[in-house]
Symmetry: C2
Subunit: 316 residues, 2 copies
């Protein structure tokens, strides 16, 4: 298929072309750059919503209900489900994710699983590109769901403009401690499975933690109770996402976010490309292979080697 044709049909909203373009990004096929260059200016500032939180809290069920809600409102929906620790890609991975497939035959819902574990350019970089492609295909809202709550997941969620952190009552101590890293990035907090005991206690704790982490912010994260499996609280969540999006648009915050994201993307891409170039062109020329042996044999430390190598690089 000629790239021009693929670009045209992607911009018209053709799901197959979109899926193909995403595969190019995932496989680091050079055609991905061509397509991105062509469609990038056509992407609009639609809401990009990140859904993150520990495993088992019901994120996929929540996303499933959100899709149904947005579809009822006539919106076209794109979903990227990112699992950095999984070796599988390109389809539904997890049992939970199967549930989302009820939207699979709806031509105005595009769902894609990504498992970019070990991706050289970084998982956030790939997610940015994939979200741009989905965006350019004419979706009205894009959801990014992550599995787990490590740094990778936090990086992925930074691709979004609104971050929804999903928790549930009765998580273990160690999982609770993880929340510290999540609190700082949360624009909205969801207590899912809120028919469980200890929901009140959890909401009180979350209010306390929020006031600690986000004292200086203008936006004060709402806490929303949901029971995703019963479609309870989803309307409130949709309204809260809309509120946050309005806040971003009315304040200067959206412009700031877009600039921060653009800077990070540029730095990540630069880092990746420069390093690739050094390894391709410099491996033999600068005796890098021998240096690696010397490091392994503890004759010289890696930082000293880097310092020597840096002398060969010039900017003009």
């Amino acid at each position: 298929m000629i790239i021009d044709q693929l670009v045209t049909s992607l911009l018209e909203g053709d799901s197959r072309s979109l899926a193909r373009a995403i595969s190019f990004v995932e496989n680091e096929d050079p055609r991905a750059f061509e397509i991105l260059r062509a469609v990038y200016p056509s992407a609009r500032n639609v809401p990009v919503v990140g859904i993150t939180g520990p495993a088992g809290v019901g994120k996929s069920s929540l996303v499933d209900q959100l899709i149904a809600n947005y579809r009822n409102a006539g919106m076209k929906v794109g979903v990227v489900a990112v699992d950095p620790s999984s070796p599988f890609s390109g389809g539904a991975i997890l049992g939970d994710r199967i549930r989302m497939q009820r939207h699979g035959i709806d031509p105005d819902v595009f769902i894609r699983s990504m498992a970019t574990r070990g991706k050289l350019g970084g998982i956030a970089a790939a997610t940015f590109d994939v979200v741009d492609l989905i965006n350019a295909s004419g979706k009205d809202i894009i959801l990014i769901e992550t599995v787990g709550v490590g740094q990778d997941e936090i990086d992925v969620v930074k691709v979004a403009n609104t971050t929804v952190v999903v928790l549930m009552p009765g998580l273990g101590d160690e999982v609770q401690a993880m929340k510290a890293g999540l609190m700082e990035i949360a624009d909205l907090l969801v207590i899912n499975k809120s028919d469980r005991p200890e929901t009140d206690k959890m909401e009180m704790e979350l209010h306390a933690v929020l006031s600690f982490f986000q004292a200086e912010n203008v936006w004060h994260p709402q806490i929303i109770r949901t029971i995703a499996t019963e479609n309870s609280g989803i309307d409130q969540l949709v309204a809260a996402i809309r509120d946050h999006n309005q806040y971003l648009n009315q304040s200067r915050r959206l412009q700031e976010k877009l600039r921060e994201q653009s800077k990070q993307r540029l730095i990540d891409a630069l880092e990746y490309r420069v390093t690739s170039q050094i390894l391709e062109d410099g491996f033999d020329r600068f005796g890098i292979s021998q240096k690696i042996d010397e490091i392994a044999d503890r004759k010289v430390d890696p930082h000293t080697v880097v310092q020597e190598l840096l002398k060969h690089f010039k900017m003009e």
Copy 2:
């Protein structure tokens, strides 16, 4: 304190000097490079054991029992507990970790928590450096414990030569799915809390998964049942760690691992330093700030900008 003095007392095993040197690494203080250069050749090929697995399976209790076991054998023990998602560093973070503190007054046990979230050089890079410092201070074995099972944690565990993946019976579906990424890196598998129901079922499943993921390996991961809180199964785990270490030493596998690790360290350090240099020297010169605005305004995509910037970059 003069760096030479710090290096001398670190090599003599002084905990305070070691702690200070680690802080330099964590704070990206240039003195960290000087110290590492000086002590790097003194580090020995002691066993470096990574302990990873989902939150709540009892990793810290297990590490606590391992420390006690190694101390009974007269070995000096170093422990790094890495939590990539936590904003806190330099002390005990989690409730569970408190238990390890019973070893805190033992001068031959060194325990350090690291939370290098957002560290620019990468969390694995910092862990490598910290393990070298602990190694050079004369420890006979080093344990690296991680919180959670994301890609960051997997990267951190790659600093180890023996990887112990800890699981427990009755983990949820989504957590089970995460295990795929763990299976490939596991040298030993521990089923902790093995007095729980479904332990037999889990062991059978693990055997099935292992045969799928590790068919081509010479080393066949053992599955060890433990109840860390009752000190049950710890002797078997210690024996299995010793067996794996012997396998590494007798086969060529240790040399291979050290070379792989050295290559990764060199690439990571190079990537970080080159990018820092471009951003410091090139930000104004190449109008990077304006390019970021253009990306944010969707006038040009980040990959096209990188392509232009790369033209300024030469190797001699």
